[in-house]
């Protein structure tokens, strides 16, 4: 079965281009603005979209994404609205993969079978659930794979060679390498270390490896993208959204094009990198 993610990464590989993966939080700062950004992301150079499912207790996230989650919840974010965003996006774009990213409790609370059916129906392609390591695969990973969704796992600097096969076993779509030990949007990764880590992961899998956490500028994006199959940027984009809000938390006039211009700069950085030598 070839998913939108598989097709997208195959196409990029054919073009010798690394993927630019963008993250925004659903419903941040409200439904309409979030949809406007979402719709504009592919045109601004985003190859794969991660859409954050807001949660009150985002334990692996830094201040920028924590704040975005709180803005979204304050504006009445629910799982239903997150899926409505995906559905509205899908109405105009049937190619760009969307991966939902977040924490397990809102999914568990909705009920896994119900969630998977609703996500699939809305046009979701994959899931990244931070607090579900391979030890808990029967919770969501296995049912998601059965339902035809990709389950993208995080590999980290603490994932050693002994553990890596277990982490990769049920991973599909791509592997998300977390470039630092830390939270989103914190330290900047060292390119040489990232390159070595990507090589290490590549010895265990034929899946594409995208790298994220801590990439803030087009230059960093380019450097990381040249060492991997893709670069993920989240906090910088979410931070740009925060910067566009007025005192009442509403986006200023012309906010979306300015945020998307930043996305384009980052995309240019990624796309100016030479793709890794294909193996």
């Amino acid at each position: 079965m070839s998913t939108r993610l598989d097709k997208r990464f195959a196409k990029l590989k054919g073009e010798s281009r690394p993927a630019f993966v963008t993250f925004i939080t659903a419903n941040d700062p409200d439904f309409d603005f979030s949809l406007e950004i979402l719709k504009g992301l592919p045109g601004a150079g985003s190859d794969v979209i991660e859409l954050g499912m807001p949660f009150t207790d985002p334990m692996a996230d830094g201040p920028a994404i924590q704040a975005s989650s709180q803005r979204a919840l304050k504006a009445g974010a629910t799982m239903k609205k997150t899926l409505d965003l995906v559905r509205a996006f899908r109405a105009g774009d049937n190619d760009t993969p969307i991966v939902l990213m977040g924490y397990y409790n809102p999914i568990y609370h909705m009920g896994v079978p119900h969630f998977l059916e609703a996500a699939k129906d809305a046009g979701v392609d994959g899931l990244i659930v931070v607090d579900l390591p391979p030890e808990e695969d029967d919770e969501l990973c296995e049912p998601a794979l059965k339902a035809g969704l990709n389950f993208i796992r995080l590999a980290t600097p603490t994932t050693d060679d002994k553990r890596l096969p277990a982490v990769l076993a049920n991973t599909s779509g791509f592997v998300y390498y977390v470039s630092i030990t830390g939270i989103t949007g914190s330290a900047t990764p060292e390119t040489s270390k990232v390159a070595a880590a990507v090589e290490r992961i590549k010895r265990h899998t034929s899946l594409p490896v995208a790298v994220g956490f801590g990439i803030k500028t087009p230059e960093q994006a380019k450097a990381i993208a040249s060492a991997a199959d893709g670069a993920v940027v989240g906090s910088a984009i979410v931070g740009a959204i925060a910067d566009e809000l007025d005192a009442s938390g509403k986006p200023r006039a012309g906010a979306a094009p300015r945020v998307l211009a930043l996305v384009r700069d980052l995309a240019n950085g990624v796309h100016s990198a030479h793709a890794r030598a294909a193996e």
């Binding site: 985002p58 692996a60 799982m79 609370h109 030890e135 603490t158 050693d160 030990t181 939270i183």
Partner: protein, 412 residues
Amino acid sequence: MKKEEDVSASSKANSFRSGPDERGRFGIFGGRFVAETLMPLILDLEKAYDEAKNDPDFHAELAHLNTHYAGRPSPLYFAERLTEHLGGAKIYFKREELNHTGSHKINNCLGQIQLARRMGKTRIIAETGAGQHGVATATVCARFGLPCVVYMGATDVERQKPNVFRMKLLGAEVVPVTSGSGTLKDAMNEALRDWVTNVEDTYYLIGTVAGPHPYPAMVRDFQSVIGDETKKQMLEIEGRLPDSLVACIGGGSNAMGLFHPFLDDDGVEIIGVEAGGHGIETGEHSASILGGSPGVLHGNRTYLLQDGDGQILEGHSISAGLDYPGIGPEHSWLNDIGRVKYVSATDKEALAAFQLCSKVEGIIPALEPAHAIAHVTKIAPTLPKDHIMVVCLSGRGDKDVFSVAAHLGVTL
């Protein structure tokens, strides 16, 4: 259906004390719901704890510290005047408030600091709500010369100033947490963020029977000294086991410590008292079992306070130590299989019990165990005089004097 599975899983060993399983589960509860970065760390911790558990030297060192540093065993005291006052069951207090640092928290901290040292960790982090666990952690870090960072919600820093100063005196760095709502759950999130960033040298000293496996089982084991001593002392004093046990529950570590050694003693009724706040029906409480539903937070599946979309709600209680939207996973399991009965006491009832205990026993209890005493005042009068009841007096009330004065409208 799930309940039946749980029972059969535990009855394999024909015991309520055999959990958790190899996945860290008590029935459906518990588990290891953590980010991949932390997964290798908790596997290391599990291995180190298993080794320590089987090492007589580890137990000998801990016993020595318990005796000479913490002041164990704590007395099992016949609360004669409270018994007379209530006119029914014979009430004993397990005097955990007499431990060094003034609560049961030290039992767990001494155990975990020994483990951290064995593992070669050189920096300790912890979360705290009311500050009791923070003080106990800062204490053991001072004792062993290890740097200590305590995360505490900014709201709690403001309302628990004496404990904040105490931690600083003991050499700890107290970091106020402003993210989220600035209370205990946010402090725990921030401690997890620190841990995920400082994976090499840092040991996360969790203060209750919650978090990812092996914490719930490990903290329970270190706190079980409460129940083990109670059993022995009761046999010496009364020549038999008690008829009932009562303890307050936030995360549930003092309760689990008292309950666990008695779980297989059929004749012992066990009661956990949650914080009812303004009343369960008002929605403003910290009663995760009575007013919550199963969910996943902070590394484990357990009963949580949450809304219809799986977002975590703030707890409310007069006692900052019970003000947590979750509960240890083993309690959730013990509730579902029916071995332990969970009830609640309101802020008002706890406040009345706080004053009653002070007046008739000359013991100022912390607001947390005042919830347990509040339940005792409801049931003891209905029980026969030969019914023996043990209440865990988990902490002393000095820290609460100011807030109780405020609640009673007294200006100090």
